[in-house]
């Protein structure tokens, strides 16, 4: 698509200059640093805070699997917020400010305009997830024991895929509504609805929430049936493709 490479450079520079990339990277770095720490010291913190008021409640000793759980949980929660915030204004703000008209009056296709934006959102999320997972792996190794590197890499990939789904759904909202606030609202509603639906055992594997179980299992070194990975991965990719396809269709028919 004409102009994609140039626009990718522009989007990357914009992510840096407008502090989106450093802020998201910082947030994920914080998640990576604190998740194993929380897993390791939370029982002691609870004990210290409660004193002898809860002597009868048994608190299990912290293990490496607790760190994996904590990393995944925090990545899914903070990461989803970050993905929605990154995507909410991607198209809406450019349309609102008139800068989309500046770009699209050049020899640039609308597809290239959207592609550059979503690809760079994907890159920013990928960099942030890698940063969080690497730091979390190191801390987990220090505080507990070294964990399987390949399993953690798989967890990072699955976490990124889940975040990409929230970003894609918010991106669709940003393109269709032309309002960053409405896009964020739609993103959060999608997150809420799909998380609730994902809690239903028979439906869960067909939503991004279905990525959690295989990701945690792989990161803790437990073997996973291929179907348990493939189903949520394919379902999430289909969801992303549908969202981006709808965004492209909508944008192609819009006036600037």
């Amino acid at each position: 698509m004409t102009g994609t490479r140039v626009l990718l450079g522009k989007e990357l520079l914009e992510s840096w200059r407008t502090y989106r990339l450093p802020v998201v990277a910082g947030l994920f770095l914080f998640v990576g640093l604190t998740s194993p720490l929380l897993a390791r010291f939370l029982p002691e913190i609870i004990k210290a805070a409660a004193g002898d008021q809860i002597p009868t409640i048994p608190i299990p000793p912290p293990v490496a699997a607790s760190a994996v759980d904590q990393v995944w949980k925090n990545l899914a929660q903070f990461g989803a917020f970050a993905a929605i915030i990154l995507a909410m204004g991607a198209v809406a703000t450019e349309r609102d400010r008139g800068t989309a008209a500046f770009i699209l009056s050049k020899a640039v296709s609308r597809g290239a305009f959207l592609t550059a934006k979503i690809v760079v959102i994907g890159w920013v999320l990928a960099l942030a997830v890698i940063l969080a997972v690497v730091v979390a792996w190191i801390y987990t190794a220090i505080l507990f024991e070294p964990m399987p590197v390949v399993g953690w890499a798989a967890m990072a990939a699955l976490a990124w895929l889940g975040l990409a789904a929230w970003a894609a759904l918010t991106f669709l909202g940003s393109t269709v509504t032309g309002s960053a606030a409405a896009a964020a609202g739609l993103g959060f509603i999608a997150l809420l609805v799909l998380s609730i639906v994902g809690a239903i055992p028979s439906v869960g594997p067909f939503t991004p929430s279905g990525l959690a179980a295989p990701a945690i299992a792989l990161a803790t070194g437990v073997s996973v049936e291929a179907a348990d990975i493939i189903t949520p991965v394919v379902a999430t990719i289909v969801l992303i493709a549908l969202a981006l396809g709808a965004a492209a269709w909508s944008f192609r028919h819009q006036e600037l």
Partner: protein, 338 residues
């Protein structure tokens, strides 16, 4: 038919292969569905290659919508646009040789002026080195060389407009579409940029809209006047003035004769061959006449009869404003007839 097309076509000022001709046929744009606002209503327009074409009209005439349709930023409800006989579609390649400046240009505040112009050049197909040298050249031409490294967010409205011209020019376009290109500039900036636009006729076709008729008279070869979405008239500027500007007389009285001037104005308004009388401060009158011979014989005797002592009585060259007011100011609801 509301459109009055002059048959005489202004030839390009130089024999060029590169500038492009623009043609609109029955171009229509309606906003808000079937019962919505008809912004452009069956516009037929030919802009010859190499000309500087001024698009005029009152607020809401459809000028900006027309320019956005030409730039591919809006989609026509009906009709066609061709540039050098190629239909304009959503095809991005068709916009490669077109430079566009929006009415209220908004750019990325986090970029420097140089970065923005380079980006525009690269998006128009220039290599990075071509975009760099193009940015240096155009920023210098629009007087922004010293501010090139400053963030666009810190630019004033006038600087943003200059930047808009620079980004439109950077890839040496064959067609320039400029919507109110000098509206935010001070007189010196306006003069410089109008001269720049005038120089472009050697290498590009320029279509620009403005409310300032003097700007059009200064640099345009051809003029189109729009009203209520229709092209009221279009043709070479000199032809418009010759055909549609009525003979005009300026009368100035000695100081302290305001009462006599008012009486004279009232008397002139009741005269059949007087088309319009405009009273100005300081006892001045502008009188446009519909019958030149009758005015030659009868105007001065009327002034003398009114007992007004004159300092100036002269026939003046009609301006585009006179044509504009005559055609648009008196336009009926469906468009004016000349």
């Amino acid at each position: 038919m509301n459109q009055v097309g002059l048959t005489t076509r202004g030839a390009p000022s130089t024999a060029l292969a590169s500038p492009v001709a623009v043609t609109c046929g029955g171009l229509t744009k309606r906003f808000g569905g079937k019962d919505g606002v008809l912004a452009v209503n069956g516009l037929d327009l030919d802009v010859p290659a190499g000309s500087v074409f001024g698009l005029l009209g009152p607020n809401g005439a459809g000028k900006t919508t027309t320019l956005r349709l030409l730039a591919g930023l809006a989609r026509p409800t009906g009709g066609t646009i061709t540039i050098d006989d190629r239909p304009v579609t959503a095809d991005d390649a068709a916009r490669r040789g077109i430079g566009v400046l929006d009415q209220d240009p908004r750019y990325y505040g986090w970029m420097t002026g140089r970065e923005l112009v380079e980006l525009a050049g690269k998006l128009q197909g220039l290599s990075p080195s071509e975009a760099r040298s193009g940015a240096t050249d155009t920023l210098s031409r629009v007087g922004l060389a010293d501010a090139a490294r400053r963030r666009v967010g810190a630019y004033s409205g006038g600087m943003r407009q200059r930047l808009g011209i620079a980004q439109a020019l950077v890839a040496a376009p064959r067609l320039l579409i400029l919507d109110e290109p000098v509206s935010s500039l001070d007189p010196a900036g306006r003069r410089d940029l109008l001269e720049l636009i005038a120089e472009l006729r050697a290498s590009a076709t320029v279509i620009f809209s403005t409310h300032v008729l003097a700007d059009v008279e200064r640099i345009c070869d051809r003029v189109g006047i729009m009203d209520q979405g229709r092209l009221v008239i279009e043709g070479p500027l000199d032809d418009l003035l010759a055909h549609y500007a009525l003979p005009l007389y300026r009368i100035e009285a000695e100081p302290g004769q305001e009462a006599g001037v008012a009486t004279l104005a009232a008397r002139l308004r009741g005269t059949p061959w007087v088309d319009r009388v405009t009273e100005e401060a300081g006892g001045r009158l502008l009188v446009s006449v519909s019958d030149e011979a009758a005015a030659s014989d009868g105007l001065l005797p009327l002034v003398v009869a009114a007992g007004v002592r004159l300092t100036v009585f002269e026939r003046v060259r009609p301006t585009l404003e006179d044509v504009f007011l005559r055609l648009v100011g008196a336009a009926p609801a469906g468009g004016a007839t000349a």
